[in-house]
Every structure is written in C-alpha cells, then in structure tokens.
Amino acid sequence: MRKVRVSFTLNGLKKTDEVEPNQTLCDYLHDVAGTTSVKKGCDTGECGACTVLLDDMPVTSCLVLAPQVEGRDVVTVEGLGTKLVPNPVQQAFVEHDAVQCGYCIPGMIVTLSWVREHVPRASDAEIKRLMSGNLCRCTGYLQQIEALKAAIKG
C-alpha cells in the first residue's frame, strides 16, 4: 500500500511522517513515533490503555487511523509532564498509591488530566462515569479517584 504523508503536532512538536494508510494511530505512536506510553490492551476501543488527546479530546487511539491526524494536535502522557515537572495528576497518582502494574496508567492519566482541566467540579458519580472507558484490573480505582480529587484541589 502507498504510504500517506501526514503533518501534525505530537506533544507540542510539529511532525511530518509517511504512514501506512491502514495503520492505527495506536500502532503508529507506539511502533513508529517512539511514544511507547501508548499501550495496546485490546485494539478494539474497549480498554482505554491507548487513550491520547486528539485536539484536546480523549480518544482511544486504536480506533483512529494514523492519516486522520493530519493537521491535528496529538498529546500522549509523555506530553503531560516530566520527572522534574510532573502533571498534577501524575504527582497525585504517586502520592495516593494509585499505580500498581502500571499498564493502564498512561491512558488513565490522559483521561483524568482532561477531567481535571475541563470538568474540575465533577461529582464522584460523574468522575466514575468519565473514567469508565479506562479499565484497570489492579487497583479497584478508588485510589485513582482520590488522586484526581487531590490534583483538582491542588
């Protein structure tokens, strides 16, 4: 298949690449672009481990084709914080023991950092609904909810 040229922004940096037309954004980000935080847990949009921000909306990147990001803005968890300056949600996850095996965590933090930015007054029920697209098999979620609330409070 002929490759397709795409130009987009990845974690704040302009990027142009040749991509397979049938490649998912998840595979492109993980296998080609080097953003290995984007995890594949199901490849069918059910588990949320590959969640990224696309034009500031959380999406499961396994349900987006790589050419679809032309001219758009993509943010993975690598783009949210660094060791020296972690995102408040990343910091709160560490402090509230919200991380166990860690495989769901990049996607979960992408979703919750979006919740913190856009729905800071969400009730517990709304928080639970907003994060229900991100599955975690280890923690039981309660520490993650506490972490988000602490990050919102600041």
Partner: protein, 760 residues
C-alpha cells in the same frame, strides 16, 4: 451502581512505590516497548477444533507469503516438546492431536506482524475430528472420549477428620446443597509477550511473567542441548494474578524457538482474543455439600464432594484442587470432616492459577451454607460464625492445631461493628421492589505453597558508596513487593529508603527465590531479605563498635547512622561506616535463605502451613426484583495478615482484590459452547469499571506471629477470596432465599426470583 461518597480519603504515602512515578510518566518499558527494527514477528496457528487428530500440516503456501521467513512445527523443536508445572502433558506445538480450541499447532515467523497473520491463514492443517467432552461429570464416565493416554482423571485429593457419617447422624439438622462457580478470566491489561534474542551459545528472553526461573527451566527443556545457556529477564509486567504463572513458559519458549531457528530476535505478543483463548483460568467447580448442626449452633460435621473442570491440560489443577479441598470446610472448628475432590480433563480451555487459587470457590460453597444453617437455627449468621470460628489453639478442619496467631474473631467483630451489621439485619430488606440485603463471609489462607515445602533465597549487598542493592527472583507485577522489600531492608539497616534498590529479576543476576505466587513474597522473600540484611548489620555493628568504642550488641542503626545505645556523644554516618568496611576488605554481600520444611500431610489430614491469614468481608446490596439487577452499595473488608509492612500498599491489595471479586460475583463468567469461548473481548466479557466499584472500607487487624519478617503475613490473595460469598449472602438476605450459583447477573437473579415465585 450509585456513586458512594468517598468519605474516607486514602492517606498519602510515606514511601511511594519505587516504580510509580516512572509508570505515571509513561516511561516504563514493558516487553513490546523494546522491539528493535530487525525483530521478527511470531504468530501462532491455533486449533479450530476441541479434539482432533492432526493428519498433516501443509505449510508450503504459507512459506510463499511475502514477508514470511519460516514456519515452525513440533518437528523443529530441538529438545522436548512437553512442558508443564505439575505434569508435563502440554506440547508446546501439537504434533499428533489437539485437545482444545486454541491449542497451538505451528508458528509463523515473519518480517511484520501483518505478514505473520497472513501466513497463519495459509497454513493448512488436515484434522480428523474426534468426539469431545466438555462436561467434567461426563469426562469420567466409561466410554467418554479419552483426552490423554492415561485417561481423563487429573487428580484426586481428600480430607478426613473424625467420623463425618456419625457427625451428620448426631446433628439436630443437616443442610444440603449444590453450589457451582463460574470460569473467571484474569484479564490483565497487558497480554502475554516475549522478546527473544539469540546469542552465539545462548538465548536471552525478555518477557512478561511471574516466575523467571520456571520459564528458564521450561525453555531449557524445549531448546535442550542445542542452546547450552538460557537467560531470562523479567520485563515490567502488566498484571499477572496467577495467569502469568505458567503461560509464560510457553510464550517465552515459542519466541525462543523462533529466534533459534532464524538466528534473529523474535517477538511473540498475544492479541486480547488469543490471550483469552490460551492461558489457564479460574476453575469452575461444583460442590455437593452437607453440614450437620446441633440445636445450640455448633457444627457437628461437613461432608462435601468437589468436581473441578481442569480443561485440556493439567496446568496447576492438582494444586488448585488441593487448596480447594483443604479449605472447603471453612475457617471453623469442625470435629468431623469428609471432603473428596476430583479434577478432570475436558476439551475446554485449560484452567490453572488465579489469585485465590481454589479458595474463592470453596469459600462460596462453605459460606453460603453457613447462612442457610443460620436461617434454620433462627440465629444471626454473624453469631453462628462466632460460635464455630477458629481461634488460636483451635483444631482446624484439617486436624492441625493452630499455634500461630489467629485474628479471625477480631476481624469478624470489627467488620460487624463497622458495617452496622446488627442494625441493618434488623431493618430487613424493605417492602419496595428494591430490596436491601447484607451478607458476611470469612476466609482462611495458609501461608506459602500449600502442603509443599517452600524456600526462598535472596541477597543484599552494600556498594562502596553506601547504596544497598537487593537481589531476588521475586517479581514485581503490580503488587508493590519490591517497595515492601525496601521497607524491610531500610528498617534493618536504619537507612533511608532511597538508599535501597531492588534489581529487576534476571536469571543471570539474581538468586532463585521460588515463584511469585501464593501471597508468599512478603513472607518468604521478605524473610530471606531480612536474614541477609541482619547478617550485614552484624558485620557493620562489629566495625562500628570499634569506631565508637562500645560493644557490637548495643550499636543502634537509625537515620543513616550508627551509634551506641544510651550514648549521644558519638555516631558514625552510614557511608563512613561502609567506607571503613571497604578499607578493611570486608565482603558486604550476604545471602539469606528462608525455608518452610515439607509439612506433615498423610491420609487426608495434617498441617498446611505454620501460619495463616484471615479475612471477614461484609457486602451490602440492593436487589431490584423487577430487573434482577444487584448493586453493591457498601463493602467492608477486615483482614488479619500479621504485622503490616506498608499500610497503603496493604490497603491497595485489599481494594484491588475486592474489585476483582466483585467482578467475579456480579458479571464475570467465561462462556464456553462446545469448547468455543463466546466472550473473549472486553466488549462481551465485562470486568468492573470505576462505576462498578463502591466505597470499600478496609479494616486492618494486626496479630503478628514469628513466622514472616517482623511478624508479617501475606496479603495478595485474601482480598478476592470471600467476595462472591459475601455478595451471595447479601443477595440471600435481600431475597429471603439463596442462589447457589453465580455471577449474580440480572438474568440469573431475575430467573431465580421467577422460579421461586412459580414454586410457591
């Protein structure tokens, strides 16, 4: 479920998990994050039939698919094709017959995963279908299709204490019932993966796993003399829950075989569907159970027979059955016990290890029947349990006199108080369509490998610059165990935790500490590490005593210094002390080994372990009798696991275990029809989301004994064990009758309500 107010915020951690920040930043490299450009991709050709002879495998068309480098079948295996934990009955690649839908037949090795996938479709296998058996009861009948040369019996176990027949006759009444439990899928978020690198005379495999030394053994078996050295490195592992106990033996061996045949790095990573089709799951079990009770509320006897479906290969079935059989009577004083258990081969997906390991099943049958007996007695179920509960000095239903700490009664008393049990039982289910119910269940968990000898070795080393390095084969896959080890070492040596690090398990670097299973890591690994650290402290104390002029016995290590007890004048910093040791050419590396000898077990009774952990859970549910929907609205989990090493991680283990248990109780059931799994993806096999987990109140009861490090016991599994039973009893309380099979899905509960109504 209705959102619960999270009224008790979880406290901030004193020592965060070692790997938490790296994971939160997305920097942690799991197996598939390490793939280099020259790696080949491996896909597995799987059987579409539950039971069939392989007449011929034709790979000629597959070999011509562009990008396909090689096809591998059983004939390409240089060593032995047969591996397995307990019984070596599972071929890495089937050559004469297949025994379940998904059984592995051939490997397609290609430049890209797409080419490998196309190649899989072109491998033509000529099968001759055989009659199959899917029902464990049918599998043992004469004339049933024979799955393995020795027949379909995998294992039997039994417990005998006193005279159950006599105990049942003498009882004032006997409650009887048949209880059955579903197949549960581990559903770890990271599916199985292994990356193999061929070297000139060795094979290095990086993979997602619980037990690198077990993988090493299996791989050495498969590669045989062709590869003298195999080295296994555990990559950060995205969940295990027992599912990555033996499955990685095969996944890593397949990747290694591909790498050995092609002399190139090879990656094998399963899709979600393959993962569901392949790895061993929680056994479905059927319990026929009767319990004799006297009118004053004492249990006089328990008699039960257990039938487990082990699926197509033995995996851990024999061990799981042993645990189910030996805990089937429950944590109660019962003078007469007669338990028989059988696990059989069928043409279903194999069953094996899953957190709880036979106890969630046994607990469901035992604890539901406890409530049925309490109803007959007209006694509160908490009260009935208290009359029979195990205490220190009690004789367990296996005949063992419990000499170590038993905090079960305190768990029950506190769970009862904190859940407002008495008031809620009095209030009753209510008059409306939505009925409230509250239920309780207990669990008993023997420490370490059950009924087996157990041992762990670990080393602790201090470097010239005062860093403390812990080496153990016990793996981190989310439990936080390595952080726990840091707590232990820093406590013994009086250093700050950030001075201590734990090496990622690599079979060339770390000692074999036994498998990371059975909630044994803190107890066995932790104790081995404690022993090694104490030896180092002894060496340091000797040098410090000369530096500070006081006897070594009175040297105190704290705050990264050593000082003489009762004296404030002199102290020496940890780094200075270590430098002095190095000047004296002292070896600051020590090993510790902790051994549990083979416990006495004979003729159906004996000792399971020197130490046990306990838990009592209380679930509160709302059942919509119009729709059958069960909602857990409140949950209390009281655990006794000796001394707690890290409170936050302890609570995290309990909350995570309860959440998995709620999935098991309410929604998780792998559905097989003629051996075909009908729900392999998260779309149709539902696990709890954040919206399904209610507030979980954790209660920690500390009852240390001298077995584990600082009196600690294990906590990894107990959290899941009583959950289905507690929910089952809450549903029973809401509806007024027990439902003896779960998960309590709306359909099942609705049908049970309808059936009950039509009978009365």
């Amino acid at each position: 479920m209705t959102a619960q107010k999270l009224e008790e915020p979880i406290r901030r951690l004193e020592v965060p998990r070692l790997d938490a920040l790296e994971k939160a930043l997305g920097e942690t490299k799991y197996t598939t994050d390490n793939v280099e450009e020259d790696a080949l991709y491996v896909r597995v050709v799987r059987s579409p039939h539950p039971h069939a002879l392989i007449r011929r495998i034709d790979s000629s068309r597959a070999e011509r698919v562009p990008g396909v480098v090689r096809i591998a079948t059983a004939r390409d295996i240089p060593g032995s094709n047969y591996i397995g934990y307990v019984v070596q009955d599972r071929p890495l690649l089937c050559h004469d017959k297949v025994r379940f839908v998904g059984d592995s037949v051939a490997l397609v090795i290609a430049d890209t995963s797409e080419s490998a996938e196309l190649g899989v479709q072109e491998v033509k296998v000529d099968y001759e279908e055989l009659p199959a058996v899917f029902d464990p009861g049918e599998a043992l009948k004469p004339g049933a299709p024979k799955i393995h040369p020795g027949g379909n019996l995998t294992a039997r176990h039994f417990v005998r204490l006193g005279d159950a027949e006599e105990g049942l006759v003498r009882a004032d009444f006997v409650v009887r019932g048949t209880y059955s439990t579903p197949i549960q899928e581990q559903a770890y978020l990271e599916t199985e993966a292994a990356l193999a690198y061929p070297k000139s005379d060795s094979m290095v495999v990086l993979g997602s796993m619980q037990n690198p030394f077990m993988v090493k053994k299996a791989m050495a078996t498969v590669l045989g003399r062709a590869v003298p050295n195999v080295r296994i490195i555990q990559a950060p592992t995205g969940g295990g829950f027992g599912g990555k106990q033996d499955a990685p033996d095969e996944v890593c061996s397949m990747a290694a075989l591909a790498a050995w045949l092609t002399k190139r790095p090879a990656l094998l990573a399963f899709s979600r569907e393959e993962s569901a089709a392949f790895h061993p799951k929680r056994h479905p079990m059927i319990f026929d159970r009767e319990m004799g009770v006297s009118s004053d509320g004492k249990i006089t006897a328990v008699r039960a027979s257990i039938l487990a479906d082990g699926g197509a290969y033995a995996s851990l079935s024999e061990r799981v059955l042993f645990v189910a059989v030996t805990t089937a009577a429950g944590p109660y004083e019962i003078p007469n016990v007669h338990i028989d258990g059988t696990t059989v081969y069928t043409n279903n997906v194999p069953m094996g290890a899953f957190r709880g390991f036979g106890k969630p099943q046994a607990s469901f049958a035992a604890e539901l029947q406890m409530d049925e007996a309490a109803e007959r007695l007209g006694m509160d179920p908490a009260e009935f349990r208290l009359r029979n509960i195990l205490k220190a000095g009690s004789t367990a239903p296996t005949g063992q006199v419990l000499t170590s700490s038993v905090g079960l009664e305190e768990c029950l008393v506190r769970a009862r108080a904190d859940s407002a049990w008495d008031a809620k039982r009095r209030t009753g289910p209510g008059q409306g369509e939505k009925k409230r119910g509250i239920g309780m269940a207990c669990t008993i968990h023997p420490e370490g490998l059950n009924g087996e000898a157990d041992a762990a070795t670990a080393s602790v080393e201090i470097t010239a610059v005062g860093q403390v390095v812990v080496k153990t084969g016990l793996t981190e896959y989310g439990q936080g165990i390595h952080t726990g080890f840091v707590h232990i070492v820093s406590k013994v040596l009086g250093t700050s935790p950030d001075r201590v690090s734990v090496v990622m398990p690599d079979t060339d670097v770390v000692p074999d500490s036994g498998p990371t299973v059975a909630s044994r890591s803190t107890v066995f690994g932790g104790k081995a590490i404690l022993l090694a650290a104490e030896k180092l402290r002894g060496k340091l104390a000797k040098v410090a005593s000369e530096m500070l002029s006081c006897p070594p016995e009175v040297i105190v290590f704290e705050g990264d210094t050593a000082r003489c007890q009762g004296r404030d004048d002199g102290r020496v910093g940890f780094e200075e002390l270590v430098s002095e040791c190095f000047r004296r050419k002292l070896n600051l590396k020590e090993e510790g080994t902790f051994v549990k000898p083979l416990p006495f077990w004979e003729a159906g009774h004996g000792d399971l372990s020197p130490s046990y952990t306990f838990a009592v859970h209380v679930a509160e549910v709302e059942v919509d009798t119009e729709t059958g929907k069960v909602e857990v609205v409140n949950y209390t989990a009281a655990h006794e696991s000796g001394t707690v090493i890290s409170r936050d991680q302890f609570e995290s283990q309990i909350i995570g275990g309860v959440a998995q248990g709620l999935g098991y109780a309410l929604m998780e059931e792998l559905i097989l029809k003629d051996g075909i799994i009908r729900n392999k993806t998260f779309l149709d096999y539902h696990i709890p989301t954040a919206a399904d987990v209610p507030h979980i109140r954790t209660i920690i009861v500390e009852a240390p004994d001298d077995f584990g490090p600082f009196g600690a016991k294990g906590v990894g599994e107990a959290g899941i064990e009583p959950v289905a039973a507690a929910v089952g009893n809450a549903v029973y309380n809401a509806l007024g009758f027990p439902i003896r099979r779960f998960p309590f899905t709306p359909e099942r509960v609705y049908e049970a309500i309808e059936e009950r109504a039509s009978r009365s």
